[in-house]
């Protein structure tokens, strides 16, 4: 086709709401080459714009969509042989020479069906918006050929053939438009240009871009300006609103163009991709976009019925093979380059926003050196202190031993024990009991999953507890002060806090974790509200001058909070109060700050419900909230001033410092911290931070005093000793508050005052810092002095607790329990073991003061306390104990080493058979009375005495060889959570005289199975998992620098 004269029909389609329409018309009027015909499609009810003088405009009443508007114009006007359509939007204003250049190209490139201009920004014509697009080979990702906002320096002027370009302000041959059927409606306006251009190529035409022809494009559709009501325009204009439509358009494109066989896979892939992007959105803290991304595959599904028709149209109009457009499609490498380019641009923009001057840059570099040096020194000193205090633990861990203690139990807990505990909601301790929650076991699952298991990682947590707390505190104190000295001293004081040392020595894993995590929570909260300090530069200024609140930090605080309440539930209420108050002061980020409480609240959900049922404002309710999930032991109640100093009820004096009372020796760090806090108050510096620190400390004292005043571990009949609450977690709060207050007041004190005053302040601070450092060093020396009594009973121990024969029986499918007996002066003590040694790390089931499980208030399930009589019988070498033992699935008795009395008694009982003697105990097997079947966790007993054992773990079991009618007995207390099935149909529970779970098995049942399922527990478990996982993904600090890594 060649013609000296082309007919250009300009069509402006408007929804009648764009304020830019008059400007668009003006731009058309200003063209050096005006279009031959100008149709303006506008809704009937819209006000008609003013038309520039000399411009002939034909107004057409518009349809609902852009495509309908064009169709209406074309329907009324028959095609001209050389007619080109110039498709303008009401937000595209061509520069004066645009049409002339487009027409010139159209004349030259007669095969071109589309001749498209470069799109530039509406408000800045030097910035590019669009200069052609392409897509990947799969087609589900649109790739722009220029970076948005790239400065146009003519670098793309050579570009001509492209796969596609925006049809906005492009010249389109009328015959091709009619031949291809115009725009594809399935795209709903997003992606239809790409589809049309690709179709044009396949139909034997070209698509050409003319970089020198420029059109200003305001992108009203993209930014959602059209769909928003007029009230929302402006501030909340966000391109997020059209994201779902655009993304759906991309998938529709892929479905339309991919080989037919690939379509089902693409649909599946769209779900996978959406899930992946949703996770990324959480990481970016774009919670609104999570929904948009998750909705995409469903939208794709909704448009799926239109795909066959689209594909048919493509097939009909194609004259060229698919390989014709293959060179335009991009591969994985280009995609990655595009993403990387987007990240780099975002990073550059962030840098440009916060570009410091060269002088500031130098100071920042100096500060960074100081900071790294400080961190190095603090880490080294804290490690040295850890090694001085508990170096023997480290060597023991390295030689394959584990830490153990009466409260701690054994630390070599297998992963499956932790997992079964948290997943099932059934605590296997003792005879087992329904658990209130499984957060503590869940908290330790990662430690068990890592190489070395809990033996190594809990061991390291305790052995390096001082170092971990110090380093945590170092980072947290960075939000309060930039003074390396103040940070370092504060961090070490926090790490060496006496009650933290006590918790480590007692093996109180929960309070140790809480002490280590508390600084991270504080840091997250400060940064979430934007209250952290910038680096000190120049004369008392900070860089950056204003700190932006960080959503990732809020999620970090949320995660830390969840960990803290799982480890040490007593801190839920005080930290909740801190978050509520902090949020109230946080201004516009208040919701973000408050959101940091959500995961912890969900994790504590079962306990909150239990506390509510116990009477929301009673001591019982507080005892539930202050419960100890993990290792606990009774501790002496101390006066509040001792809590402030981090002291226990007895403080040993130091042999090296004979004149000093123990209170002063152990409380030296506390005294220094209190003195620093008093100085902070007196100085009047950083008043809000100091006040906040003091309030937190006050809350901590109340928490600690409240915790130690109630019984948080009630005797559960399974051997747990009663314990009141530990003052440690509250005292950690005191330490954090006071140290934080002192650190905040110390910020920039070096530059405070003038002249003599400044010199005096500097001298005084130097002396104070030296004194404080001296006290810290002296404290470590005193604590680690040879011969000083150990604070607690945690000690390295061999990981082999039970004789191998006994442990093997525990692991068999019959899941036998082991009863360990040991001599005492007045009789015998026993321990019922599910695992290799007493395990507290799986977390407590939690019982109320009356011994009923908190998960089942008012019920009194059978406990191992009922074994006492049988044990007494064993001790007297009497008869009949074996029946009780068999009834509760106890298959092996172990006489502890050195307990020769009980070993002698056991040797006399003919029903027991010796199965092994070693230096970890003498083992006897219990035989099932009247049957040759082994003892088991669960079995089916028939009327005639035949027994079939089930293969069990701690909460499920099954057998495939039932048969006769009988009773399924589970050697665990009856509970509504137990259910059993025979060949798939549920069994009726029957009463058992001993309180065990029992079910009637009908005759002929082959496959019999049972399991424990607690619906409430399951709901809370998943809710906690989702909340914590959300916080974990959200705390990845993507937002700050790479927030555009995933397109908006």
């Amino acid at each position: 086709m060649s013609a000296a004269r082309l007919l250009v029909r300009a069509i402006v389609v408007s929804d009648g709401r764009s304020p830019r329409l008059p400007e668009v018309l003006g731009a058309i009027a200003d063209q050096t080459l005006r279009p031959d015909i100008l149709d303006v499609v506008i809704p009937a009810d819209a006000e008609r714009p003013a038309v520039p003088e000399g411009l002939a405009v034909e107004f057409v009443e518009g349809g609902r969509t852009y495509a309908q508007g064009i169709a209406r114009v074309l329907g009324a006007a028959p095609a001209h042989p050389y007619e080109y359509l110039w498709l303008l939007h009401d937000d595209t204003a061509p520069l004066p020479t645009a049409l002339a250049q487009l027409v010139a190209t159209a004349k030259k490139r007669t095969a071109a069906a589309v001749v498209a201009p470069a799109h530039v920004r509406w408000d800045d014509v030097t910035r590019l918006v669009n200069l052609g697009v392409t897509t990947t080979r799969v087609g589900a990702r649109r790739i722009d050929l220029v970076d948005e906002d790239d400065i146009n320096q003519g670098q793309y002027d050579e570009r001509d053939d492209v796969l596609a370009a925006s049809l906005a302000a492009a010249l389109v041959r009328r015959d091709v438009w009619d031949e291809l059927g115009g725009l594809e409606p399935a795209y709903r306006g997003f992606g239809d240009s790409l589809h049309f251009c690709r179709l044009a190529w396949r139909a034997g035409h070209d698509v050409v871009i003319v970089p020198v022809a420029k059109v200003r494009h305001a992108q009203d559709s993209l930014t959602g300006a059209r769909s928003l009501s007029s009230r929302d325009r402006g501030a909340s204009r966000r391109r997020d609103s059209s994201y779902g439509q655009r993304r759906t358009g991309e998938w529709v494109h892929a479905l339309a163009w991919a080989p037919a066989l690939a379509v089902p896979f693409l649909v599946l892939w769209s779900f996978v991709s959406a899930a992946f992007r949703a996770v990324l959105r959480i990481a970016q803290n774009e919670s609104r976009m999570v929904g948009a991304d998750l909705a995409v595959p469903w939208r794709v599904l909704a448009r799926l019925p239109r795909v066959p028709a689209m594909r048919a149209r493509v097939r009909r109009s194609a004259t060229r093979p698919p390989s014709a457009v293959a060179p335009f499609l991009v591969g994985t490498r280009t995609v990655l380059t595009t993403i990387r380019g987007r990240e780099l641009r975002a990073y550059d923009r962030w840098r440009a926003q916060s570009a410091p001057s060269d002088m500031v840059r130098g100071e920042l570099a100096d500060a960074a050196v100081r900071r790294r040096l400080g961190l190095g020194v603090v880490t080294t000193l804290a490690l040295a202190a850890s090694i001085a205090l508990h170096g023997t633990w480290l060597t023991a861990l390295a030689s394959g031993r584990m830490l153990a203690g009466s409260a701690l139990g054994v630390t070599d807990v297998p992963l499956d024990a932790l997992w079964e505990r948290t997943w099932s909601g059934w605590s296997a301790d003792g005879f087992g009991s329904p658990a209130l929650d499984g957060s503590f076991a869940a908290l330790l699952v990662p430690a068990a999953a890592l190489p070395g298991g809990t033996r190594v990682w809990i061991g390291l947590l305790l052995a390096l507890g001082v170092a971990l707390a110090s380093v945590s505190a170092w980072f947290a104190l960075g939000t309060a002060t930039r003074s390396v000295w103040a940070r370092g001293l504060g961090a070490l004081a926090y790490g060496l806090w006496p009650l933290h040392l006590q918790a480590i020595s007692d093996g109180r894993v929960g309070p140790v974790i809480a002490h280590v995590m508390l600084p991270w929570f504080a840091m997250g909260l400060m940064r979430a509200a934007g209250w952290h300090r910038g680096e000190a530069v120049g004369g008392g200024e900070e860089f950056p001058a204003t700190r932006t609140p960080s959503p990732s930090a809020a999620m970090g605080a949320a995660f830390s909070f969840a960990v803290i309440v799982a480890a040490s539930p007593v801190l839920l209420l005080p930290l909740l109060a801190v978050i509520v108050v902090a949020g109230a002061f946080a201004g516009r980020v208040r919701w973000r700050v408050w959101s940091a409480a959500l995961p912890a609240l969900v994790v504590s959900g079962p306990a909150l419900v239990a506390a509510w049922h116990a009477g929301p404002l009673t001591r019982d309710a507080w005892a539930i909230l202050a419960r100890e999930n993990g290792p606990a032991l009774a501790s002496g109640v101390v006066e509040p001033w001792r809590i402030v100093l981090g002291l226990t009820d007895s403080s040993a004096a130091a042999a090296v410092l004979p004149g000093l009372p123990g209170t002063v020796v152990v409380g030296a760090i506390g005294l220094v911290v209190v003195a620093a806090a008093v100085l902070a108050v007196a100085s009047g510096r950083a008043p809000w931070a100091v006040a906040a620190g003091l309030i937190v400390a006050g809350i901590g004292v109340v928490t600690a005093a409240g915790a130690q005043a109630v019984v948080v571990v009630s005797p559960d009949g399974a051997g747990a000793a009663a314990a009141n609450g530990f003052a440690g977690p509250g005292s950690s709060l005191v330490a954090a508050g006071l140290i934080g207050a002192a650190a905040a007041a110390s910020s920039q004190v070096w530059n405070a005052g003038e002249g003599r005053g400044r010199a005096a302040v500097r001298l005084a601070s130097s002396v104070a810092v030296t004194l404080a450092a001296g006290v810290l060093v002296a404290s470590v020396v005193v604590e680690a002095w040879p011969g000083r009594a150990e604070r607690g009973d945690v000690h390295p121990s061999t990981p082999v607790v039970l004789p191998l024969v006994a442990e093997l029986e525990q692991r068999l499918a019959t899941r036998e329990r082991v009863l360990v007996l040991h001599d005492t002066p007045g009789g015998v003590d026993f321990t019922l073991l599910e695992d290799d040694g007493t395990t507290t790390l799986t977390g407590r089931a939690q019982v109320a003061a009356d011994g009923s499980p908190l998960a089942r208030p008012g019920e009194s399930p059978a406990t191992p306390a009922t074994l006492s009589e049988a044990v007494a019988t064993l001790a007297g070498a009497g008869e009949g104990a074996d029946r009780t033992l068999a009834d509760w699935g106890i298959g092996v008795l172990v006489a502890a080493p050195g307990s020769s009395t009980i070993a002698g008694s056991l040797a006399q009982i003919p029903e027991l058979s010796l199965i092994g003697a070693s230096d970890v105990g003498t083992s006897y097997r219990v035989s099932r009375p009247g049957s040759d079947q082994p003892i088991a966790r669960a079995w089916i007993a028939t009327e005639d005495g035949a027994v079939t054992t089930l293969d069990s773990d701690s909460w499920t079991g099954a057998t495939a060889s039932g048969g006769a009618a009988g009773t399924l007995v589970i050697a665990a207390p009856a509970d509504p959570g137990w259910s059993a099935t025979a060949d798939g149909s549920p069994l009726a529970a029957v009463d058992d005289a001993q309180g065990r779970a029992a079910f009637a098995v009908p005759a002929g049942a082959q496959h019999v199975a049972y399991r424990y399922e607690d619906a409430d527990y399951r709901v809370w478990w998943w809710a906690a998992l989702v909340a914590v996982a959300w916080a974990m993904v959200g705390m990845i600090p993507l937002h700050d620098r790479r927030y555009l890594a995933v397109r908006r």
Binding site: A634, P640, V681
Partner: protein, 441 residues
Amino acid sequence: MIRRLVVLGAAAAAIVAVVASGRIPVDPPVDAAPYAGEVTPAVQPLACPGPVEVPVGEIDAGDPDLGSGSSDKTYQALGDGRSDAGAGFLARADAAASVERIGSGDVAGLAAATCLAPVRDQWLVGGSTSLGSSARLVLTNPTDASTEATVTFYGALGPLEERSVVSIAPGGQQDLLLEGTVAEVPALVVRVSATGAGVVAHLQDSRLDGFQPAGTDWVGRGAAPATALVVPGVGAGADATTTLRLMAPEGATADLTLVGDDGPVDWGGVSSLQLDPGVVTEVEVPQIDSGAIEIHADAPVVAAAMRSVPRPVTDGPAGAVERDLAWMPAQAVDGAEARSVVATDHVVAVTVHTASGGRFTLTDASGAVVAQQAMAAHTTATLPVAVAAGTVLTAEGRFAWSLELEDDPGFVATLVPRATGVETATVEVGQVPYVGPGAGS
């Protein structure tokens, strides 16, 4: 100004928190009380040590007067269901005993032993390892499980460091010459702690005075350490000597009372006897025809008395005397249960003590009264007994009693009854954590 107030307000709030926290009432944690179970151990056979052995062996010097052994020996083992256990025997009966008369040689005399049931912890007060004395500990295990006995010793200077650990097979017997372990201890107290169902311990106390036999007897276990004990049957003829041996494991102050047939007898110088921990103390008992010693202490003690009866040497140096001895272990005063003993040859009398008064009735197995006497509180009685050997004699009530054995030419021995009821024991059962050997509990 506001900033100042904020800080001071916060500081005041913190101080108020500290003060207020001190007023929170405290609930102390209370642990569940341990379970105290009464256990009835399985009935075990009684065990007797067997014949006495001559400490130096049976040396035949050709002259019956110089040989250590003797050809004039009668050994009587009584009790139903007897079976051998080493040199001794087991008896499945309520009561069993052995008595041996050796007419000449080093161990001339009567040696009687009451067969006993095994216990885990027993104290034997008696024996000596000084020059001329031999103490042979015989441990018999009547149970079906092997046991390990730990033997510890107490002397006049307190607990001795030496100890012996002996394993005894089921139904087996082990003997231990204590002079090989703790030599030159003139007054011994032996404690035997055994595992399992326990062990039966008897101590053969054999003494020589130069060439003259100074007596032999079996020392059986006495009452467990207690604050109130009675040693019955300390009465003897005018030339006999009686020695009370006392020991308080943890130290005690003991009051001793000598009681005769008509009530307490004056015994000067033994009120508030100070007993150092583990120190074996011996006290001479005044001569009395029929009597018993009541011991009251402020802490548990163990005790026994030894009677040494002289007789003229029939064929030896002028003025030399031979002796025989009899050990009378202390009995608990509070036991009212039936106690039985099997009468052997040579039984002549029963000596009884009562602290509370009442009628003492000794019956045989058919219920026929063998001896009886109405007694006032704190009196003793010696009642003649003439029954055939093998008769099981039983008495009930709060009486401490023993059978007296005598034979010419001045041989003496005693047989102590044993409680026939099965003793229940209290076992405290607790639950504790267990984290492996050598840790916890």
